[in-house]
Amino acid sequence: MNELLKTWTDSWAANQQALLKSIFPVPPATAGGAKVDSMRPSLDEQFAELRDTWKASIEKWAEFAKEGSKPGALTPEALRELLAPARWSGPGAGAFDYGLRQVLEGPKFATLWDLDRKLLELNQLAVQRDKDVAAYQLIVQKAWNTAFERFSKSLLGTKAQVPDSWRGLTDRWLTVANETLIEVYRSNDFIEAQRRMLRSASDYRLQERRIAEAYCEACHIPTRTEMDEMQRSVTELRRQLRVLQRATRPQRAIDKTQAPQRKRKLRAAGSAARKSTDA
């Protein structure tokens, strides 16, 4: 079989050489022409060389693939997690997030339209906001649990200590809930959770605005930023106007008081002139 293959390859190579020679005729034989032919690697050697190069290349790719596999990559486990219904209720999904982050954190190209990137950023901010809301709700939920525990304990006292009407019970519950919630609302965890929630909600809104503005610019509609800039100018102009009005107001008052005097002086000067001419 090998012999047959060798014969076929030799004949195919010879045919190819003949074809190539006919297309690119060999220049007149040089002194060392025979030597050049003898220096050419044999077909076996060429194949071996090709095989080695291929092998080295595969090894490099294998090494590269090993370097690139990070824990958040789309592994079968990550895919399973992505498709698990239990995961859907939570904010974000590990491997999906990882993929998004890879896209978002990559370099930007100057001449490519980047609306898809903006939308991805919006999605990422929505995920962050949802996470922050969930963290906040967790703290609040814990507070409600604590309040209910305290309320239940307060009902375990003597009969005299337990309210005997629905209103008494309601008032007791409201008092306990009020105290517990105030206590939690003043905690560092709550304040920080609220801060994060507010911040991520603001960041999300600003990203929404960026997308809306991209659309507005494309459709010749004034953007929010442009409107804000215009309003700023109007506010500054109003300030300047107010300053000018104020500066002229006392001046007018002085003018009013001085105007008759000036007229009187003019009249006096006129009558004096008249007197002198009369004289």
Partner: protein, 367 residues
């Protein structure tokens, strides 16, 4: 044993009956009352100045004038001045009018995104100054009495420090001065806004304002609701139920709701000054607050000062406002501490005879 059981069952039945009857009565009242029946700020007044969104009102007299110098009431931007005239029998403005005071009140309007760039300077050096100058011109007076409420009290303090020649007497009600004294009395339900604001970074506040243009009224309502979780929880159930005994009570409740719903947005740049410069950095009491390149020095306030505070004010805890005593330059400084909370000082039945009379008695001696 049987007697006790019967007694409990009877009690339960009676309670259920009472409850159902109350609900039915309340339902009937709510069906009868229309939104137009729930009116606030109805004292007779006229517009005397309108500048941008600011309106200056002059109230029609209801009694013979007993004070020569008029009073200008300046509310803040978180909430609306209408709280000072919530209803006929709960109205600081009507009480002042009845005691012979010539009353003006400034309404800052309803700021929108277009007012985002307005600052404290615009309100103090601009609108408030224009109102004061107008009243001075109208009455041929060099100075008037200025009455500031809450953030309007801060405006009034700044104004009195920067324009001392135009203020004859300064009256402050529920006004924050030292924003870091919120826990001086160690009361857990006091000063949540102070704590909440200090928890935010200046950048968080910038982003919030950038995203919304203003400090949204809804956000402030939400923060206020966190300060009294029990009341927030019970307001529309037990609270409302309690008003079903009496239509007058229900109307009071609905008027307060109307005022609370009407919470304007706070212009963005002014909100940054309030939250960052005042609440976070406490610049007013430290003598570092800058307005239009000038420093507001409370020591420059040499006119008589009356500081009215609520003893159970959870929004402006007493110590945050009483700090003015040592900061102000005036030798004539008085305080009136009233029972009740932040809004209760103006709208509670108990305070009606006290607040207006206290202010007018104090002014008469300095008229």
């Amino acid at each position: 044993m049987t007697v006790a059981k019967k007694s409990a069952a009877t009690q339960a039945l009676a309670e259920i009956n009472d409850f159902n009857l109350k609900m039915a009565r309340g339902h009937r009242m709510l069906q009868r009352i229309k939104d137009e029946d729930v009116q606030i700020a109805t004292a007779d007044k006229e517009v005397v100045i309108r500048e941008d969104k600011t309106t200056l009102y002059r109230y029609k007299p209801t009694a013979k004038r007993r004070l020569n110098v008029p009073v200008l009431v300046a509310y803040g931007l978180i909430g609306r001045y209408t709280m000072t005239d919530l209803q006929e029998d709960r109205s600081m403005l009507r009480n002042l009018l009845a005691l012979g005071v010539d009353v003006y009140a400034v309404d800052w309007g309803s700021p929108t995104r277009s007012d985002r760039w307005l600052t404290f300077e615009d309100y103090v050096d601009g609108y408030l100054n224009d109102c004061v100058e107008f009243i001075c011109r109208e009455h041929q007076l060099p100075a008037i009495n200025l009455l500031g409420i809450c953030e309007g009290g801060v405006f009034s303090l700044c104004y009195a420090a920067l324009y001392p020649q135009q203020v004859k007497n300064l009256i402050l009600t529920i006004t924050p001065v030292d924003f870091h004294q919120d826990q001086a009395e160690g009361r857990a339900n006091h000063g949540f806004i102070n704590l909440w604001t200090r928890g935010l970074s200046a950048e968080d506040i910038d982003r919030l304002i950038e995203a919304n243009g203003n400090l949204p009224g809804e956000l402030m309502s939400y923060v206020f609701s966190l300060m009294t979780p029990g009341a927030t929880l019970s307001k529309y159930n037990v609270g409302l139920l309690d008003t079903f005994d009496d239509e007058k009570k229900l109307l009071n409740f609905l008027r307060m709701e109307k005022w609370l719903t009407d919470r304007p947005h706070h212009p963005g740049e002014a909100a940054k000054q309030l939250l960052v410069n005042l609440y976070k950095h406490n610049e007013l009491i430290r003598g570092e607050f800058q307005l239009g390149g000038r420093t507001v020095d409370l020591g420059d306030i040499k006119v008589p000062v009356l500081n009215v505070y609520a003893k159970d004010d959870h929004i402006i805890p007493p110590k945050t406002t009483q700090a003015l005593r040592t900061a102000v330059g005036s030798k004539d400084y008085s305080e009136i501490g009233l029972d009740g909370g932040h809004v209760g000082v103006f709208v509670s039945g108990k305070s009606q005879g006290v607040l207006g009379k206290g202010i007018v008695d104090w002014l008469r001696k300095r008229d």
